[in-house]
């Protein structure tokens, strides 16, 4: 098995999946919901205009909470649907390795999420027209948001591989993403602080998507934050492969 055939398999699956998103109305419904929610949160809850500041903080600050529901909604169908319709039998009797399919599907979902995120560009244009923003943190915010989407999607992919029921996949993935996000809030850390040593509390905080995203959003993309997001993706995609291989016996 050479590297070029590996890349080919991943690419072919990626292309099929990504075209799959746009061949049903679900993709367009999702894009509209995403843009509407992202905009509404920024304008109404984040007081985007009345803050009178030319930055996108009000926009990015809600992304972890928005993704909590929207990323599991993308990821729920990744494997559950294939299992339900039986096409997983077709896919896994083609000459592809499990990880080819896992990566191909994940990248397609991630790119789809990226497209949704990219479509929020008018908000960036508008702050550049209305004011004179520092575009560094804006770019960092977009990169951080995209990485966070990838982490949530990898979590969702793993959960989706365990079931043939998309609703279960959605609910469990949302709960798991919620735990990963919540781990960084003061509420949770404060609770642990009451009985755990400071070093452990910091460890728990360091597993939080929220903390890493907040760091990036400030405009500095630190290596540890990158390592964090790519590790979450790596671990959960690897777990997806394990779950799928385990299911071959059933």
């Amino acid at each position: 098995m050479s590297a070029s055939t590996d890349i080919r398999s991943v690419r072919v699956i990626f292309t099929r999946e990504l075209t799959g998103y746009f061949s049903t109305p679900v993709a367009y419904v999702f894009l509209i919901v995403f843009l509407a929610l992202a905009g509404a949160m920024a304008f109404y809850i984040g007081n985007f205009f009345s803050r009178n500041q030319a930055d996108l903080d009000a926009f990015f600050v809600f992304h972890p909470w928005l993704y909590l529901f929207l990323m599991p909604a993308i990821a729920m169908r990744l494997w559950a649907e294939e299992r339900k319709s039986g096409t997983v039998e077709l896919l896994f009797t083609l000459p592809v390795a499990t990880w080819h399919a896992v990566l191909g599907k994940f990248f397609a979902a991630w790119v789809f999420a990226g497209i949704a995120l990219a479509l929020t560009f008018p908000i960036w244009i508008s702050i550049n027209i209305l004011g004179d923003p520092d575009n560094g943190p804006v770019v960092a915010g977009y990169i951080g948001s995209f990485l966070m989407a990838g982490a949530y999607l990898a979590i969702g992919s793993c959960i989706s591989a365990t079931t043939k029921n998309q609703i279960i996949a959605f609910v469990l993935a949302a709960v798991l993403c919620f735990l990963f996000t919540l781990g960084g809030t003061n509420m949770v850390l404060g609770f642990f602080q009451s009985f755990l040593p400071q070093s452990l509390v910091e460890l728990i905080g360091s597993f939080s998507v929220l903390n890493h995203f907040t760091e990036i959003r400030k405009g500095v993309i630190d290596l540890t934050d990158l390592i964090y997001f790519f590790s979450v993706m790596g671990v959960f995609l690897f777990a997806t492969v394990l779950v799928l291989d385990l299911k071959k016996g059933q």
Binding site: M1, R8, V12, T19, G20, S85, L90, T93, V96, K248
Partner: protein, 315 residues
């Protein structure tokens, strides 16, 4: 070409496939028969690498499906039971996908796709979403997918299920034409199909092989194989009829009331040919014959006997 070695599959308490071994050579078309739930599809899923066996393995074109699954899968074309397909794709894009994943590109890919579509007569629906196709057309798309890379080994789980008579004929024709070059396993519930396309039949029941042989050999195990059926103008004298039953090689004479006229079936002992002595006896006695007929036996009877346990020790 294809060796199945002691394949066993257990689903919790259910032993779906129990120590099944067989070999299929190039040029053979193996009909895989058995009642519902016998383990046919489960065996095929293990042979094609979708399910991991509890024990045993399959060697496909020299590759162990467990140890080098990708190499083995390259030379298999598989039509899974029920022909699952991606509903949002068209036959054209779906075949394009499977051909691409099998490494075909450019004009090779285009010609492989059009060849598979021509074989299964899919051209007229080539760009219609699969979810809007009729059942038979979906099955044909599944079949085209199995054929697109011209594989050495074909595993087809109920390929003619849901096809119209013309298409059934067409599919049998395709199998027939490819047979010499390939190793083919098909599962089916249509026993005429076995006579029509298979060079060998394997019957399994409750996960175990209960019969294995050419269709003719299996048919010969029917109790009425070589029986002679007679329809007469008049009922013969009871004494003469009794004497017919005492000819060497004849086991019994049954009266067949359903044919209306006086009709009898002369059953041989152990399938020995009895046409000669019976016809000689009948003409000696000057019985007026409306019809005389040599029975070959039916695969149905054999199937029923071996799978319901009335011929338990047969295998």
């Amino acid at each position: 070409m294809l060796q199945v070695q002691s394949l066993t599959k257990r689903f919790g308490p259910i032993l779906a496939v129990d120590d099944v071994s067989f070999t299929v050579a190039k040029g053979e078309v193996l009909g895989f028969l058995g009642p519902n739930g016998a383990g046919k599809s489960t065996t095929m899923k293990m042979v094609t690498g979708f399910l991991s066996p509890t024990a045993g393995t399959a060697i496909v074109c020299g590759h162990d499906i467990q140890k080098s699954p990708i190499e083995a899968k390259r030379c298999i074309g598989y039509l899974p039971e029920g022909a699952p397909l991606y509903p949002d794709m068209t036959p054209q894009s779906f075949l394009g996908f499977t051909a691409a994943i099998r490494g075909m590109t450019g004009s090779d890919r285009a010609s492989a796709i059009s060849r598979a579509m021509a074989l299964t007569e899919l051209q007229q629906v080539a760009s219609q979403p699969i979810e809007t196709l009729s059942k038979g057309f979906k099955r044909r798309v599944g079949l085209a997918q199995a054929l697109v890379h011209d594989p050495e080994v074909l595993v087809l789980d109920e390929p003619t299920d849901g096809l119209d008579p013309n298409q059934k004929h067409q599919v049998r024709q395709i199998i027939h034409e490819m047979a010499a070059e390939k190793t083919i396993i098909i599962s089916t519930h249509i026993l005429e199909e076995v006579d029509a396309v298979c060079s060998r039949a394997l019957i399994i029941a409750k996960g175990r092989i209960v019969a294995d042989g050419t269709p003719a050999e299996l048919t010969a195990r029917s109790p009425i194989h070589n029986a002679v059926t007679l329809r007469l103008r008049k009922t013969p004298p009871a004494g003469e009829l009794k004497a017919l039953g005492q000819i060497a090689g004849v086991a019994s004479v049954e009266s067949l009331s359903e044919l209306g006229a006086p009709a009898y079936r002369v059953i041989p002992a152990d399938g020995t040919p009895i046409l000669q002595p019976v016809s000689k006896y009948v003409s000696d006695k000057n019985w007026e014959i409306e019809e005389i007929h040599l029975e070959k036996g039916h695969l149905d009877d054999v199937f029923r006997r071996v799978t319901t346990g009335t011929e338990a020790a047969a295998a």
